[in-house]
């Protein structure tokens, strides 16, 4: 038997797609920003001199990297109300995605920080820079140029991971895909359209990452032996 691919069957449902895409973008962007902050905190924790801080950081990273995002989502949405904290779908998805992605951000930033030679810190100190000035003007610009590629990967992982939010009653693109598909039984067409939307969103976020990096730290033409 053959399947008649007919994209016109999806057209009546395209009206609700922009709103769904907006939810996905909103969830992804908030998660990226918050997990970046969490990642900075985690990286500093793991590089601190106190053993307890290092242990806490390592435990957080290992736990989050070794549990599926779906399990975390269920815990936050269905488990927390039993302890008295009821969050709606979007909030639960945001929290679960953030703490999950924060672990990966921690590792990415830690790798970037480890690649800065000690000499840079010594030179900055010899110039009379405070710790904060060292980080802001010397260390972080170099770190961001190093972590460009893995950061881009992680941003894409966040966008794709946000599709799991549909499991906890969030009306994102994955939810649209299921709803439109279930109503028309034209799953192949709706999956195709949803896939294209996700590709577009990932590329848009990638572009935003590159532009932000250029604006903050200048063009990435650092001669690092490439």
């Amino acid at each position: 038997m053959s399947y008649d691919l007919n994209l016109r069957t999806v057209v009546p449902y395209l009206g609700s797609l922009p709103e769904a895409a907006l939810v996905t973008v909103g969830l992804s962007v908030f998660t990226i920003v918050l997990s970046l902050l969490l990642g900075i905190g985690g990286a500093l924790l793991r590089r601190s001199r106190a053993v307890t801080f290092r242990f806490v950081g390592a435990a957080y990273v290992e736990f989050m990297r070794n549990t599926p995002l779906l399990v975390l989502l269920y815990l936050v949405y269905f488990g927390l109300p039993q302890l008295g904290l009821r969050l709606n779908g979007f909030q639960a998805a945001l929290i679960a995605l953030t703490i999950n992605s924060g672990a990966y951000m921690t590792e990415i930033l830690r790798g970037g920080l480890m690649a800065i030679p000690r000499g840079q810190y010594e030179a900055a100190f010899s110039q009379g820079m405070t710790g904060f000035q060292t980080f802001r003007y010397i260390v972080f610009p170099q770190v961001f140029r190093i972590i460009y590629p893995p950061l881009g990967n992680q941003f894409i992982q966040v966008v794709l991971g946000s599709s799991l939010a549909s499991v906890v009653a969030v009306n994102d693109v994955a939810s649209w895909m299921q709803t439109a598909g279930s109503a028309t039984f034209r799953y192949i067409e709706t999956f195709l359209v949803a896939g294209i939307v996700y590709v577009g969103l990932c590329q848009a976020i990638n572009l935003a990452r590159i532009v932000t990096g250029r604006l903050l730290f200048g063009p990435a033409h650092v001669a690092r032996g490439r």
């Binding site: 038997m1 949405y77 779908g89 039984f185 799953y187």
Partner: protein
């Protein structure tokens, strides 16, 4: 680097790809009926976690009302049933891609869905009902639900998407992928009301009596039918004959009573 030049690599990949395509091309020269009879196997797609329609025993064997229907069809055709567990989108796509011969999975027959797959005549008729926790005293009637602060949990893309807004236009809707999740949401207070078909509700009330209550009123008319691939008249003819006799002979009523515990509601609408 010279041995792995781009030209050579891409031609190797092209050959491998072409070989895969040839191997994967299905040989659909027979109708579904011919295929079932010659292979001796009826491939049935079912949804696992929806008792008493279908559920999986701890050993992994499927059991339920839908399963028994499929076994009877296979017996009538003198073939062996082979069960494939699927989820809500897959119960349709396995028919469209030829991976299953029939789907018995609490399928509501609608005109829009009929444009992509075929349905037999219905074997059971269900209606939409609303379920709340027994301790929710402020939700007693449909008017109480018709409020923006009340959240109704429904399965995504099901018939409830149209019917719940018709019954309670002001209520907020939360969409989940399956009934188990909606029930978990109801238990933890993430949704206030659960909408499901009246037979599923009845089963729940029997198994967990005292925890839930059903609000009065039936809010839709839905025919549950067997799904099969579109465009295959012979296969539809055979299955539909079976369904007609299954209903008329009282076999359906007996099987239903055995799995649900009460009498089969009338299948024909009174008009």
């Amino acid at each position: 680097m010279k041995r792995f030049s781009a030209g050579r690599l891409s031609s190797v990949f092209l050959c491998a790809f072409a070989a895969l395509m040839v191997l994967a091309a299905p040989a659909h020269s027979q109708s579904t009926l011919g295929q079932v009879m010659s292979s001796g196997k009826l491939r049935v797609a079912i949804i696992g976690g929806n008792p008493p329609y279908s559920s999986l025993t701890p050993s992994g064997e499927p059991e339920g009302y839908d399963i028994e229907i499929a076994k009877r069809i296979a017996a009538a055709l003198n073939v062996e049933p082979e069960f494939i567990t699927v989820d809500i989108p897959a119960r349709v796509t396995v028919l469209q891609t030829g991976k299953a011969d029939i789907t018995v999975a609490n399928f509501t027959k609608t005109v829009q869905r009929s444009t992509s797959i075929a349905f037999t005549d219905p074997y059971v008729v269900v209606s939409l009902q609303f379920l709340v926790r027994a301790d929710q005293n402020d939700l007693q009637t449909i008017e109480d639900i018709n409020d923006r602060d009340v959240v109704v949990g429904i399965t995504r893309g099901g018939t409830a998407e149209q019917n719940v807004p018709l019954a309670a236009p002001d209520a907020s809707i939360a969409r989940f992928n399956n009934e188990t999740d909606i029930l978990a949401a109801l238990d933890t207070g993430q949704v206030h009301v659960m909408s499901q078909d009246n037979l599923y509700n009845a089963e729940l009330m029997k198994n967990r009596s005292g925890q839930y209550k059903v609000l009065p009123g039936l809010y839709s008319y839905e025919e549950i039918a067997i799904g099969l691939p579109a465009g295959d008249f012979d296969w539809w003819r055979v299955l539909n004959t079976w369904v007609g006799q299954f209903n008329a002979s009282g076999d359906n009523a007996r099987l239903f009573k055995e799995w649900f515990g009460y009498d089969l509601p009338p299948i024909q609408a009174q008009y």
